[in-house]
Symmetry: D2
Subunit: 333 residues, 4 copies
């Protein structure tokens, strides 16, 4: 049985979240120091991710990492900026401009160096800008060749640092190249490096009509690649980045089961956008939902779940979940 | 507080469900008599809906109704066939052929007569074939005029029978005319008759990106029109007709709350398609989920829910649901 | 036959478009004066919409309107800001805070005064922030009562100014209250004022699985309410705000036909977000697509189209469109 | 440049198409002989696909193939029945029942033998029933192991017959295991056999938010696997199986370009469901649309398209398509 699971969160959860309509943010601007203090208020939260450009730069890195330490928080993952500046608008690794491609590769390597130095040992390459919006706008084959080259060079830079990637079907491009778990695993097969990992944003799976649980199983089957989790929820048509426990309770329960079954022991990290809501409150609730659902899973028992899964019987699956959730609640305390 | 709620089901739940690939059905054919016996096995099930052509005809009506009675089941609603024969393929009320339009109107009137005779007093006009598949295929304005005329004539036929309608955004047409709750209520406003009611298939609401709860509220606000419920679940992109308790637990909880708050006291009827699953088992599970979720609602308390709803605070809403579901489960029995 | 149609555009098309990832914009910041000069470069563009807060304030109004005039551009519509500041995050007309509701109403009235003064006579009330993200977060009935009150007061403020509204199914909220054309028309029926108009963003129709053409027909049928068009395109799952001519050519052709048939004679205005693309180029292309598709429509002929529509025959509809598009192209010039 | 392209069609296009509401079909039953005669009426149609169980059995195979020959039609592909009988309801290759799995494998082998005998040399393994509907219903890893075993055994049965597969994201299951092009290609990589090919149903690509053109490019990149095309159209949320030329003209143009560019020289086969429409008429129109769009492509010129694609400039891409479609049409003949 996996020991106590460990929780992290993106630091942006505690900032002034913005969208394309309210560019200045739905809440007053929050300085980084305050965001870190807020993160520290969330019960059970032990780790924090940082996005370069947004949260950390070459200049302030030591300062920020010092603040984290003081607040009792670890750096769970570092996210190099390949998508938060206008220069990346037409792609990073797949840009038509060789200077931008070089810039992208060097950006990832620098992040790897920082990650290695502070012991996070994991960076998240999110190719959100690498894709296309319109027909006749992309040479799909060339884009793949460039991703194979670029990511391969990064992976080779330091085999001790895991280069994670986070597939997404769309946004900010109407179509991202690395759109599904399969496309990402296929890219990894081509490159072949061992230090390539999957950062699974479960909202991206839902948005792409994937089963979160099946994605975990495929990561196991195709190289045991799962290294990090981004947790949130949505209504399946967009990356709404809602709090955990908003919509998909049963699918979350199945996700937790497959994480346990496949021996995942990395961070359970929140990637939510509480545009109008209290960040500390929403992060706290999200963690409580995960813990409560995990308690249900353990209450039912891994073996009993496995037995029902093997049967393939949907009536038994329904009963299993329903009784697991409500059997004790039925008896007044 | 609404008294004990009452459960019904479509009779097709207990038959050999078919789709466009397995036209002969996923299970061996089941005679009507056997379907009725199976329905009677489901705990708490008191009512059954019948579809004309599929389950009941002028010829066998007395026999079937006799069998229902013997099995201790009421006829909860009668569904005139405006969609189960090839002749309706290009529409019923909105067909370009005046003979088909007349046929459709007379079909509904006949159903109303039967319903009146047996005391069901409710028919469900589902205009699934009235819509369009391609551009330049429909004179939208003429279609509306025909629906206003046809439905108006039916409503006037017998003011004591409620003419229910069941909007749906698509299937079998790629676009149905009466696609959303608002379109249906707008049609009713135009006709003006009091005996026009809403048969809400909650899966149709989910499929159309509606909030099931908001739909109930709108029915209240615009004429107190809700008369019947079709309950099922889906993944939001199609009318999957899955069992209740499959995906949308929190949305179902909110639905139950608004039903209670607006004083709905009609049937809670199942419209699920257990293609590969045991119909009795799936109906039983669906009813148990509804009862369990209703128990959670009552355990939390209507007033406490109302207070959180008024606050508009999403963190409080999350806590309310989570603690309502799991607070007792946390304490071992 | 409608005379020459007239084209407008949102001014933001010529700015530095931003999203939630690149908050500073994909292109360098563009001063308003430069945006107006760029708009003037687009062939056939005669009108410009302005968004308050973004483009125009009480302070700079005279200056901006002077610049428009100088550039040979009319103000086609004014958009009061009910969504571009953090204060609107939990709604404008439907906020739980009475001060915010009052602020929203006064904001619209002030816009109406400005519009009246400069002869635009049309404001666009877009309630993008009025909705909900989570279950148990909204009192749906109260929200409707507040919209009826708020919008009613605005309409009564000056019957000579048209108060337009622009429904949208989601974004920035995961669910907006006024989500579909029907919901908007139903709200208008309740208020009853004559100066309430529909600003149809065709991308919102596509995103909500509506037929753009059917929406135009419904506007005609329910009070002849269509007053303005926002034109763009998308992949049906999100408000991608792509250029016209990107995806839905046949649906656009059908839209143009129904606009002509119902006698629409307002602006054809662009609401596109060319994040990574040249704004002048994309606006120019969008207008050319509309003109070319309109040329196809006129080449086929309104009567011939009507005849096929009346037939309901999808094979004839296909032939009509295909031959209309390609018959001349087949003969080398 | 690819020579004249060759057209085929599923035979069901000429039958009495049915769905789950009208199980007896929207049109009167059509005998196989008549369906073949109707197929022969479609201009340019040279090939026909047959589905076992539906169209051809061990018993009538010689007769049917004789009729095809007489009508001047080739058998373009044979589709073993792994989905049209109730016994496959819980899967074929992935069934929990070893007898069903064996049955599935033998069914495919028998089809391969027939295909080899008549020179079609291609069978289409469509695993529509292999997937899951509910959470906790599938052991995803075991399912993959079974697919690898089953498909591998089939491929090894006769290396001269191509075993095609046709991925689909859903329907009839709410989730099919082989859901995307990437998942299929990953499965092939695991098995390693050379005679595994992709049968691309472009509607399945659209339904899964894939770019049809990018899928073709990926097939080229990952083993040059594309062997057959199923052509149709839809509204992106479901496998509507509409006629070609209904919605996605520009995406079709881009598809045709990438087929040409990657040297595809197999059949262009129709898989449409003209439920309410004339099958001969719809097939004829579909082929004419493809030919007309291909004419536009050739008129623009492969080199000019390649140049714009390399530029990545969406404004140029828009102009390219628009002028290609309408430049000649502008000059009256």
């Amino acid at each position: 049985m996996t020991e106590q699971i460990k929780f992290a969160s993106g630091l942006h959860v505690f900032g002034s979240t913005a969208d394309r309509y309210v560019l200045s943010g739905y809440k007053p601007a929050v300085p980084i120091a305050k965001m870190i203090q807020n993160a520290a208020k969330v019960p059970d939260l032990k780790g924090v991710e940082l996005v370069e450009t947004w949260h950390v730069t070459q200049e302030n890195a030591d300062d920020i990492l010092g603040q984290l330490k003081k607040a009792g928080l670890q750096l769970s993952m570092l996210i190099p900026d390949l998508w938060a500046q206008g220069k990346w608008g037409n792609g990073s690794f797949t840009s038509n401009d060789p200077k931008i491609r070089r810039d992208a590769i060097e950006t990832v390597k620098r992040s790897m160096d920082v990650a290695a130095k502070v012991g996070a040992n994991l960076v998240d390459v999110w190719l959100g800008q690498d894709g296309y919006d319109y027909c006749f706008q992309s040479d799909y084959i060339k884009a793949w060749e460039r991703m194979i080259d670029g990511l391969g060079e990064c992976a080779a830079h330091n085999p001790k640092v895991i280069v994670g990637m986070e597939y997404k079907i769309k946004e900010p491009r109407t179509h991202c190249h690395i759109s599904t778990i399969d496309r990402q695993l296929m890219l990894y097969d081509r490159i072949g490096a061992k230090n390539l990992g999957v950062v699974l944003d479960v909202g991206h799976a839902l948005e792409g009509y994937e089963s979160m649980a099946e994605v975990v199983a495929l990561c196991k089957l195709f190289g045991d690649r799962l290294v990090y989790l981004h947790l949130n929820d949505n209504y399946r048509l967009w990356d709404d980045d809602m709090a955990v426990g908003s919509v998909h309770l049963i699918e979350y329960l199945e996700l937790l089961y497959w994480l346990e079954r496949t021996g995942y022991n990395g961070w359970y990290s929140l990637d939510i956008f509480p545009y109008r809501d209290d960040g500390v409150g929403m992060a706290t609730e999200s963690i409580k939902w995960i813990k409560d659902l995990r308690r249900v899973m353990l209450h039912i028992g891994m073996d009993k779940i496995a037995e029902v899964v093997e049967s393939g019987d949907a009536v038994r699956a329904s009963k299993l979940v329903r009784e697991g959730m409500f059997s004790l609640a039925r008896v007044p305390a």
